[in-house]
Structures are given as C-alpha cells and as structure tokens.
Amino acid sequence: MIFTNSFASDTNTWGSVAETQKKGFFDFEFITWMAWTWQTAAFFLFIILCFVVMVLWEKKKPGGSPRRGVLGLDTTRGDRLFISLLSSAYIHLGWLGLIGPMLWIATILSFIFAIFVFRYV
C-alpha cells in the first residue's frame, strides 16, 4: 500500500521520506488520506447547507411545489436543485475549458441560472 504508516505533516522533506513520523493529535489515519482542504470542505458544507435549506423549505411549504416548466418536464423543488447543481458544474467546466481566468464570473452565472431554474423550469 502506498499510504501506510505516514501522516500528513508540513515537515516532510526528501531527507525524511523513509522515516516514520510522529503522530500528531489531529493526524487521524482515517482523515489524512482524504486530503481535506478548506476550499473543498466549504464546497461540501455548501451542498449540505442546500439540503438543510430544502428540508426547511419543505417544512414551511410541503409538497415540493410540482409543476410543468419551460422544458416540458414535471419538476419539484428537489429536481430544480439537482438541475441547478449539475448545470453549475457544466458552467464552471465550460468556463475553464473555453475562457479560463476569472472563474468567479462562472459562479455568478451559475447563481443566475439557478434562480432561472427555480423560477421557470
């Protein structure tokens, strides 16, 4: 196995590659291989937040407000969230592949598109 008995640490150098490192308090073996960063953690927290908001919304107005939107599809709120998230992935990828810099514009576009989806689709 590649990832046995070594733990993430910023003191890693080529000189200490073969040495067994001391385990720090937060170096759970379970978590280090997952390679969390605050950016990706923030992304998943945002997704979880979306779910929580959806649950609260459902509590407030039960039924999921189904309708037939502009695409001719029967959608509920959950479908609209799914469409928004998936299209935001495509918007970001498209921006990266075709344009490149200033990715935050793609994020703004995604939010605008998500609002459109929740209104009309």
Binding site: V17, T37, D74, L86, A89, L103
Partner: protein, 288 residues
C-alpha cells in the same frame, strides 16, 4: 382518510446510508479533494486549484478517449437494441423451445467480465484462436493485437455476444405481456407484420426498451474489464476507452490529481445521461 405522518421510518434508511457513505459518498468526496491537489504519495498534498480541470478539458488525450468511448457506446446500442428486438420477436412463444432459448440466452450473462475477455482473447488470437485462425485461413488479414480496426471489431463482437441477451430477455418479457386481443384485432383489420410491430409491439415494449437502453448505455460507457483483458487498450491507444485511460492515468502514472479531475468530468456526463433517461422513464410512466 388521514394518513399519520411518522418520520421515524427514516431510521430504517440509516444502514443503507452508512453503506452508501462508505462505498460512494466518502470516496467521491476524496476524489473531489484529490482533483484540486498534487501528491507524490506519503499523504502529502499541495494545492493546485483548478489546474487539473483546465489541463484535462484541453487535453487531446481526454478528447480522444471520450470520442472513442462515445463511438463505442453508440455502435453497441445501434447493434444490440435492434438485434435484441429481432431475436426476441423470433423466439418461440410456447413449447420446449422457450426454456431452451431462455437458458441459452442467459448463459453469456452469467459469465464474469474477465472470463469473457480471456475467452475472446484466446478465441481471437490470430495463430491459435479459432476465430482468428479461421479468418486468416479464409484470406482476411486479421490480427487484433496489431491492427486497430480488428481490435475494435473484436471488442464490439465480444460485447454483442456478451450483452445482446439482456436486450433479448427484456424485450421478450415485454412482448409476452401483450394481451392476445391486440393481435386478434390487428388480424381482423388485416394489418401487415410491420404495422403490428410498429403500432402494437414497439409501443408496448417502450418501457422495457428504455430500461434496456439505459442499462446497455451504463454498462458500455463504464466498460473496463473486457477490453482490458482482451486488448489492454491497444494496439497503441486504439481501444483505450475512458475508464481504461483513467486507470492508466491514476495507477499507471500515479497522476492522482488529473485522474480525479477526469473522473469527475466522467461522473458529470454519466449523471446527465441518467437524468435524461430518468425523465424519459417518468414520461413513459405518466403516459401509461
């Protein structure tokens, strides 16, 4: 009648959720984490931002692998779906022929992927394999280990052999569920064989065919073991479909970052197609 709302039933979902967390959610989160970082192993990671996604999106190699994958899946669907329907239409409807046909049809489905690959590898070897040797003896210049056209031919033939039965079995089940009254009515109207197929059998098979196409799409879009054992993605990169290329990148070159970015793009494509099929199936449900 008032239904009692009891949300405690959700606790029954917990075991499945834990299982899915360990075999899908946690690995997927890890892939997302890896897609933004560079590593040389040893659990040391360096932040790279969106570099890998840019690299994959403009890489010739990814475009080529994706193109091959889409082409392969399209060829598979174009061959297997009509062929499956055709075989199902011609299967016996009663008597001893039914179990014989069903068992024969099910056999390829029971063989593990790697065994199918190994079987076809030996079967198609140009010097000792039955298929390869016969083709060469008949004057065809056939060598799937060296000519990419032959490699494609063999891979597609193998997949058709392995999976057409699935389409046959599903279509047959769909056909058997049609009431005899429809056929009798068609006979009274003097409908041709084609009209019976077009206006009775095909609409009645719509549901199962949607599922058949979805299953065949999914299986052929993520195909790995069979071409890996048969051709190993070769000759060159001729049959290196998406998953083969992905594994080469992730494990062969240990480029975990780019491989993670690529697998996320792969995942989005699959998710989109599944969503489209889900909506088609829901439309079918609401019509019937």
């Amino acid at each position: 009648m008032n239904k009692t709302v009891n949300q405690k039933a959700w606790f029954f979902v917990v075991p499945v959720f834990v299982l899915v967390a360990f075999n899908a959610i946690i690995p997927l989160m890890t892939v997302v984490n890896y897609a933004f970082q560079e590593t040389f192993g040893n659990n040391v990671f360096m932040w790279e931002g969106t570099r890998w996604f840019k690299q994959i999106l403009i890489s010739e190699r990814f475009h080529a692998a994706l193109g091959r994958q889409v082409l392969f899946t399209l060829i598979i669907l174009v061959i297997q779906i009509p062929l499956g329907i055709f075989i199902a239409l011609n299967m016996p409807k009663e008597g001893i022929g039914v179990p014989i046909c069903l068992v024969l049809m099910s056999m390829p489905l029971l063989i593990p992927w790697n065994v199918v690959g190994a079987m076809w590898n030996i079967f198609a070897l140009p010097d000792i394999g039955f298929l390869g040797h016969s083709l060469n003896a008949m004057g065809f210049d056939y060598n799937f280990t060296q000519q990419s056209g032959d490699a494609w031919f063999t891979t597609i033939l193998m997949d058709v052999w392995h999976w057409t039965s699935l389409v046959v079995l599903l279509s047959y089940a769909g056909l058997r569920s049609i009431q005899p009254a429809y056929y009798q009515a068609a006979e009274i109207d003097g409908a041709t064989r084609w009209a019976v197929f077009r206006h009775i059998e095909l609409p009645k098979m719509k549901k199962v065919l949607t599922i058949a196409i979805l299953l065949r799409f999914m299986d052929s879009f993520m195909i790995y073991t069979e071409p890996f054992v048969l051709t190993g993605g070769g000759p060159g990169n001729a049959t290196a479909f998406l998953s083969i290329d992905l594994v080469k990148m992730a494990l062969g070159q240990f480029d975990l970052g780019p491989a993670a970015a690529m697998s996320l793009i792969y995942f989005f494509i699959v998710l989109t197609v599944c969503w489209v099929f889900y909506n088609l199936m829901m439309k079918n449900e609401s019509q019937l």
